[in-house]
Point group: D2
């Protein structure tokens, strides 16, 4: 293949969209054709994010002016993404959607946790974009629903096991809360703090349960770092956890099963997920560390795009 594929990133002024734009901009195969933003149209992306060094102007979104793109990464809020995904899908554009709109296969579960679904008819078209589980389907998909950051880590940690009494204690950096300036994201609120949130109501719970097939108790905690996420998963199981994980991930380019508990610095600004298991009889603890903006969102989107276009899965990501 000679000329690559043209990609637009919609919603590129947010943390995840901006990183996706940078990864596409430097990708050997994909061309960054357009970036859009509702709030910052007219500004250059490197004004907002100098360190990404993407010297392109943000446009207001207009599907008719996007030009001839082959694919899009959609970084819109939940509910706002689906109509755009539908519009692009109709035009034959392959889509990786970062929102939750097409992650849950059950409409009722989606609507109980989010909003009325704008395009339930497309749910069946979408593939859950965790390459380590759905690689082949992703390669054939026209819509890929990129997993949430916590489900990415939790499902990679526990997916290979049969377990029950599942408790998932997650800790994450502040970029996961998005670019909006709120009391919650104010430096003085976060600094020197450790704070649980979304207790009993976090919308990533049904997503994890869908993939694991068992009920889980899930709590997220905000800690004073910008990027990075650790899930500590406590389960009861009859499996040999370490052996199952090593077998499952033996050939995975981005999954590292390691001998000691990982820190999130180990995977900072990478697409890697580092996993460690401890076991004592039926009790097991599985740790998984990712960068919430990379493997948890934007670089996983590019990993999915690579698959969708028949590229080497690691292209542009090492």
């Amino acid at each position: 293949m000679t000329s690559g594929a043209d990609v637009a990133v919609l919603g590129a002024s947010g943390f995840a969209g901006a990183l996706a734009a940078r990864l596409i901009d430097r990708h050997p195969f994909f061309e960054l054709e357009a970036i859009t933003s509702r709030s910052d149209a007219g500004r250059r992306l490197d004004e907002l994010y100098p360190h990404h060094r993407v010297e392109m102007v943000l446009d207001a979104y207009d599907v008719d002016e996007l030009g001839a793109i082959d694919a899009a990464i959609v970084a819109y809020p939940h509910g706002a993404a689906a109509p755009v995904v539908a519009e692009l899908h109709e035009r034959g554009v392959k889509v990786v959607d970062l929102s939750a709109d097409f992650r849950l296969r059950d409409v009722a579960t989606y609507e109980a946790n989010y909003v009325e679904h704008p395009h339930p008819e497309l749910i069946a078209e979408a593939v859950y974009g965790l390459p380590e589980r759905y690689r082949d389907a992703i390669a054939r998909a026209s819509i890929v629903a990129c997993p949430g950051c916590f489900p990415t880590a939790a499902v990679l940690a526990l997916g290979p096991l049969s377990a029950d009494h599942v408790v998932i204690d997650a800790k994450t950096g502040v970029s996961g809360a998005g670019r909006a300036a709120t009391e919650k994201t104010h430096f003085v609120s976060v600094d020197e703090n450790i704070k649980p949130y979304g207790v009993g109501t976090h919308r990533h719970t049904p997503e994890i349960e869908q993939e694991l097939g068992v009920p889980v108790t899930f709590v997220a905690h905000l800690v004073p770092i910008d990027q990075g996420e650790l899930v500590t998963c406590y389960v009861e199981t009859d499996d040999d956890v370490r052996a199952l994980l090593e077998e499952a991930y033996a050939d995975e380019p981005f999954i590292e099963v390691v001998d000691t508990p990982p820190g999130v610095r180990d995977v900072r600004e990478t697409n890697f997920c580092r996993i460690h298991a401890w076991q004592d009889g039926r009790r097991a603890i599985v740790f998984a560390a990712i960068d919430n903006l990379w493997k948890g969102t934007a670089s996983q989107a590019v990993q999915n795009l690579n698959l969708m276009f028949g590229r080497p899965e690691t292209e542009g990501l090492l």
Copy 2:
């Protein structure tokens, strides 16, 4: 006097006002009579600031409902403070104003840097609230204009000297930027960053120049801490800097002239200012570290109140 004095803190939902409320609440002499807030009336202060543990409800400000208070600390934005100060002054209430409204003795300078002055006739009534310079006048004052945080540190560092070619490089924590959630105060903007701001235009410059009587070049930098402020002052002088500082502050309860450069941790959550001088011929460097919310704002307000009511200057502050 037997039964103490009743104090209100107006604008107690901001960082400085809330700390002032806590300090008054625990003060052996003063009674916290009322706290007000425009944005958070009806909420308890310990909802907003659990660690201060002030179990009092914020009221909307109404001078007629404040009750019989003897003094007020006004923590309003610049321009909004003066009318309230005037109203209280007229009723015979002693006021410590945390805003810039009465710091600058020259109305034109104030108006060039801030807004049209709502009550220029009261400027002459106000005393600049740096106890180490104006102790006696403060004791007799009915309006005290609490210095800005940078002027507090810079004037304490350089006030005793005759110097020229004055450069003041300040570094401060994020609480100095206030409670408003903005892009500037978002955790992800501040974390792992060092960033200059207000270059050439910072409104604390004329305040410092008023007190020092010489032109200064001043730049502030934001660093990822919540509280704390260091000024590094580069000057040329014929003085023996160390000797002058030690003499000036020999009897000061809150000024520590020390042998090594101070870190801001040394004075965290205290009313102390720690000063160190280095000199090589005419070149001298004077460092001063304070907590910007304490000596830089709220605890200095209480130090002033102590003087205004004839109390021991350190009462409630050690």
Copy 3:
């Protein structure tokens, strides 16, 4: 009693000992009579910890030169504490020991987790120093074993319940790792990191199990803050958790059962423990936030001393 009691702090150059020295130094009843350090004898404590402002010289420890003290806080490493405690006990000095040496009632459990016990005969003399559980016994004790920081939070969270399948996920600041400069405490190792440690082997586990009477799965995580600790406790129970906690702690001066999940900033530099419970049928999650150096160590030591000397329990701690 008129003139107070004289207290020594042994091992005052560490984080916990230094804070204990400061709290005693400012205490209305206790007099700080001596501070000792093996590594820093001859230095003033405020050289090491300027912000504590304790202007006293550290001595090498010599029980015969301690003078006539009424009580001691011993902040020695595990194994090194017991001989000193024994020596002081023999002389009739009341002791609060911050080490693990007298926390575990079962010698074999102690020796399996620590070292050979130097003074097993004194274990029966010692009372576990969690005032909310053993207030009366502490008041009569001559040796109090101050709990570990994690057990303090975990036992306060779960003590009032009957629960099983207990998982305790703890997050703590770096001061808990002590003053030793190691790769683990290097700023660059901690900053922007979240890292589990002591997985499956943490020595606070048997201490928690002793108090709760059930097996627990416990993991600690290091996060980039200096002070503060949160335990997230996942249990299965038939109890009405919230009701039990409120009943248990209705009259406790330092325990706050609150409506929303606490952050560790809420209790920073205080002796408070803030607890919140969430429940859905048999599944319950109990959060407890403390300052690991305060309620987790040094201020709890003073709370114990207050009890041992018949003082108001909150004296010097509000």
Copy 4:
């Protein structure tokens, strides 16, 4: 050229050496042939620095076992580097030295600030490795002395100007203090702190003065970030500062002259230096932000290597 050049990194277990190893490991032209360490020989580099993902074992240094290398990056402490540089130079290996051993052209100045120089005869061979000033000489050099991190930023900021009364106020992250675990690098010492160091004695001062040709007053400050460095340079000058900077750096691939004061996040993990100038008559302030481990050390070493081997200057660095 077809087959690239073989490079060894000596002293690869330190922060700078490890990053240099990673950059060479991923470089399109250079091959990482060997990495050495005195303290960690036998360990894999990705054990020490997982996030660099260099899967190579550290050897003890033995010049006879290094194999046929074309170049070496030497990341040894001052004084220890020169003998190794001499040994490699004698064997015809091109060397980029990260230490101060060959930066100062005047032996006496070196010896007054460091130690007795082990190989003064080689000083004349060495070129000061700031490509933006000495590009042509570097291309012909066999020994390149990589500048200190502060001199890199300060000389890039002020080199194009004629100025006097030069004050350089630098702020840096903790990685600049190296990997050694000390009280200074302990998380609790750094966190929530801002602290000056090396006042009046910092050894980067003569290096800056050598390049600028005027006396400078220089102070460094440690702030709680891991990587990043900002110099705020206060000068008096008759030049049009902005115009001179823009002219000097118009064609530089790594120097960005920008409209607003830079934050260090803007250049994090890059070889860029971002510069901004403010001027009011003769008073000017020039800001320069770099990543102290990248442009300040390791990536600048690679930039120099690129020049020495006739490669595109940006190869492996964008």
